[in-house]
């Protein structure tokens, strides 16, 4: 496997401009002769599809939801970063770049991150032009707030629904192109494999979730914008349908998979309430602007929070990290919460929770001021817990939220398979070992609006038409494989439900590959997961038929992939003998329990190559070169 990053030469600040100037272009009249498949209609996919269609390409867009507008990006609450420096507090493209590289614990590629910061400002302009109703100040200009890991206010937001508003902007642009006949949209379609001819990606195979029809689609390039794989843990803040299937199938066809163990555990989620729990709900990080995190100083303190006087409270983030306080990055905040709970100071009936308290802010700006900022989040919290957070502090606990790992891509966002691209959360590119808040929306839209539409043109101009037809043997072969797998799932007739396997896998992943990891536990998981997988293929029960809407079948297919992919995550976590960002190896920590990175041995992306079912995957390394920043120990103290 060749890992050529294709980062252009020249000074960091000029790379992207220079690269754009040197790219080959496709003649405008010829663009309509090319077809691009985009799988996914989240921020990344919808923005890419719309932009490609505007340029003149024919686009086929797919998603598994019943409407493109429902992609998981819709759930993002807090905001989107940009280096506008509207508040005049010293922000710049450089600072956004630096914060993102540092926040990622120096495990991302400088050139990609710099480009991300560069295009960030265009995103805000573009979205505003589309009619995204960003929050405004009384003077009519755009408002900003702060997010973790930054000391400037650079986060744009739309109440607590930033994701939905940005997605509606992209979705509307996409619908406009459908109207103009440039995009064909296929909702309730699940991509089950990618098809290669002569080593080049030339199409996909999908299952129509309404009719069960398995079908091939040919194109000149294929883009995966299929989101993250946090649901490997079963419980996460992701939507129920989020899956690794598309990315994993690409991996099995030869695309390198980078840093699968890099997952983000978000510090502020509503704690688990029982075995029936089907998903976890995030309380936006923006709440940490005004909420203070604390637990009692004494272990096993059963008093109601209001009865614990201030001097008996431990505002542990403010104590340990005085300069960032409650706004330390997510990985740091999550681990700190786990530590106090491990010490027996956790709150709530399970003891797995800490307080996020708004008392002081309510005293400062009044209940209405807080309602203005976070009304819908408070409402949601009350719905779920039946507690009023204006009166009693919220209880929160970390939960799986985002995956920094993903399909390996070069500077052009192309995977190791020519003609196959990965954008948005599905790729690994910009967030290293930890993502800063409000940066995923930025990255998805940067990739889709401002990067991919250029780089894909460069490829198409050079590679020319694929010439592939959906009736080619390459397609029919893959279709047969897909059908055979479905047949297998439907004929097991065992006793256990797909969900029961998913829950069991999730528990293994959370215990051994979650907030903290160690060699022994990971080795156990690597042994246990294949056993569970075997059991799955022997005794999973899937009812219903292939040629109809069959949600059990859909679930079983996704769980089957998680059961393979989970093992890869554990392997990756085991070989990375350091602690960095969201990856905390217990063996590698300082005396105060802070992460110990090892830049000598691990300043690289770990990229896995599939070597066949049952065979060990091969590990490749993309060394990360830092020419513009000095690697320092991340300190938020």
């Amino acid at each position: 496997m060749q890992l050529e990053s294709k980062v252009p030469a020249g000074p960091l600040t000029e790379k992207w401009d220079k690269h754009r100037a040197e790219m080959k272009l496709v003649n405008p009249a010829n663009k309509r002769k090319f077809r691009v498949i985009v799988v996914g209609t989240g921020l990344a996919g919808a923005s890419a599809s719309a932009s490609l269609a505007e340029l003149g390409y024919d686009v086929d867009a797919f998603c598994y939801q019943d409407s493109a507008r429902r992609a998981h990006s819709i759930a993002a609450q807090g905001g989107i970063n940009a280096a506008k420096n509207y508040p005049n507090d010293g922000d710049s493209v450089w600072r956004l770049f630096y914060d993102t590289i540092k926040g990622g614990d120096y495990r991302s590629r400088e050139a990609n991150v710099y480009r991300l910061a560069q295009v960030s400002n265009h995103i805000i302009d573009q979205c505003t032009a589309q009619g995204v109703p960003f929050a405004r100040e009384y003077g009519g200009l755009l408002d900003n707030r702060s997010f973790g890991g930054a000391q400037v206010s650079r986060t744009f937001y739309a109440r607590g629904q930033t994701g939905q508003q940005l997605l509606l902007g992209a979705y509307q642009a996409l619908m406009r192109q459908v109207h103009l006949g440039k995009v064909s949209i296929y909702p309730r379609s699940e991509m089950l494999d990618v098809v290669l001819e002569n080593g080049r990606a030339v199409g996909i195979v999908t299952r129509n979730l309404m009719t069960g029809e398995v079908r091939s689609w040919a194109a000149d390039a294929v883009v995966l914008a299929t989101g993250g794989y946090g649901n490997a843990f079963y419980l996460s803040t992701n939507a129920k349908g989020c899956n690794v299937t598309a990315a994993y199938r690409a991996y099995k066809r030869g695309a390198g998979f980078a840093n699968p163990c890099f997952t983000q555990i978000h510090p502020t989620c509503i704690p688990v309430s029982g075995d029936h729990q089907s998903k976890l709900t995030l309380m936006s990080e923006s709440l940490r602007n005004d909420g203070r995190v604390w637990v009692s100083k004494t272990t096993g303190d059963k008093r109601a929070p209001g009865d614990i006087p201030d001097d008996e409270r431990d505002y542990y983030l403010e104590r340990r990290y005085p300069s960032f306080g409650n706004l330390v990055p997510r990985d740091v905040a999550s681990r700190a919460a786990k530590q106090v709970c491990d010490e027996g100071r956790g709150v709530g009936s399970s003891g797995l929770g800490v307080y996020l308290d708004f008392r002081d802010s309510i005293n400062r700006v009044g209940e209405d001021g807080i309602r203005q900022r976070y009304g819908n989040l408070f409402h949601m919290y009350e719905k779920i817990t039946a507690e009023n957070p204006y009166q009693v502090p919220m209880r929160i606990y970390p939960a799986v939220h985002y995956t920094m790992g993903g399909v390996w891509v070069d500077y052009n966002l192309m995977t190791t398979i020519p003609g196959l691209y990965a954008i948005g959360e599905a790729n690994f590119s910009d967030h290293g070992a930890n993502r800063l808040g409000a940066s995923a929306l930025m990255q998805g839209l940067a990739d889709g609006y401002f990067v991919l539409p250029y780089t894909i043109g460069d490829y198409i101009a050079q590679a020319g038409p694929s010439g592939a037809k959906s009736t080619d043997a390459a397609f029919t072969d893959v279709e047969s494989e897909v059908n055979e797998r479905t047949r297998k799932l439907l004929t097991r007739k065992g006793k256990r439900t797909p969900d029961s396997f998913h829950k069991e896998l999730g528990k293994i992943m959370w215990d051994e590959c979650g907030m903290s990891r160690n060699a022994e536990g990971l080795k156990q998981a690597i042994q246990r997961i294949p056993e569970l997988r075997e059991e799955f293929w022997e005794s999973v029960r899937v009812t219903g038929a292939r040629e109809e809407l069959n949600q059990t079948l859909e679930k079983a297919g996704r769980v089957a992939d998680f059961l393979e992919f989970g093992e890869l995550m554990c392997r990756d976590a085991l070989q990375r003998e350091e602690s960095c960002g969201g990856h905390f190896r217990e063996e590698f920590q300082s005396e105060e329990g802070e992460a110990l990175r090892d830049d000598e041995k691990f300043a690289h992306a770990s990229v896995w190559e599939f070597k066949g079912d049952g065979a060990e995957p091969a590990l490749h390394k993309e060394e990360l070169e830092f020419e513009n920043v000095t690697l320092t120990t991340r300190s938020y103290k």
Binding site: D66, Q126, C127, F134, A135, G140, K240, T281, T497
Partner: protein
């Protein structure tokens, strides 16, 4: 708590369908409504019976996928709440609940509780956007927008496209959905330019799709999980009329 569920089962669009009764003996008040259905479905599957098909994804009240008629009320009895955010503590031990899909000609049933809402997408395709391409947008702060006006746009933009308004309406009208989109864009200078044409195109498509006419009964507002105001409907009527006469 114990519950009796009467649930709509329908094999496919052609099937006539009917209600099926299930008993649940151990429902926790902390469960969400959908988690309660999960428990039932796991049970059915273990017995080898086909689980009940229902739509859902985010389970946070934002994606608009869940779409259940609970005792004749879209999303159930809690105001301003989607079915996925509805918790079982709302109900009492011993209750009998009837669960059905959205009913509207423009939302045909696919299976059990799942309906086809692509008609909403086609309404947006007809004109629910600002016609700008990627690139070349002016600085976002070039046009100041009064906060009050931006807030109204945001109130309308909160629509999650679930279709509860249609399900609640005796005429199965999609007027609140259309009005919310038109109101969101129409209250912003960026969207104002195409306001009349947009109103005309979207209303026309709504009729094409077989949604009914709006007779101002306002059941839509009461059912809307995002509590979108019917005032947007009045605005839409105005813009629509202007659109017809100005021909723009």
């Amino acid at each position: 708590m114990k519950l009796t569920l009467r649930i709509w089962r329908q094999k496919n669009a052609q099937d006539k369908g009917g209600l099926e009764t299930h008993q649940l003996d151990d429902v926790s008040p902390d469960m969400s409504f959908l988690e309660m259905l999960d428990v039932l479905n796991e049970d059915l599957l273990e017995k080898g019976t086909e689980p009940i098909a229902f739509d859902h994804d985010c389970r946070e009240g934002i994606c608009g996928t869940c779409s259940l008629m609970i005792d004749g009320v879209p999303h159930g009895p809690d105001r301003g709440t989607t079915a996925c955010q509805l918790h079982m503590r709302t109900f009492k031990d011993g209750d009998t609940l009837t669960i059905e899909p959205w009913r509207a000609k423009a939302f045909p049933v696919v299976k059990d509780l799942v309906v086809d809402r692509t008609s909403f997408d086609r309404i947006i395709q007809a004109g629910g956007y600002v016609s700008v391409n990627t690139g070349g947008a002016p600085d976002a702060n070039l046009i100041p927008i009064p906060k009050a006006e931006a807030d109204v746009a945001m109130d309308a933009a909160a629509c999650i496209g679930c279709g509860a308004c249609v399900a609640a309406c005796k005429n199965a009208s999609a007027m609140l959905f259309v009005a919310a989109k038109a109101g969101h864009l129409g209250h912003l200078p960026q969207g104002e330019v195409e306001k009349k044409a947009r109103a005309r195109a979207m209303v026309h498509q709504m009729d094409e799709e077989g949604f009914g006419a709006c007779t101002n009964t306002y059941d839509c507002e009461a059912a809307c999980p995002k509590e979108i105001s019917v005032e947007f409907i009045a605005e839409l009527h105005r813009d629509y009329r202007k659109g017809l006469f100005s021909g723009r």
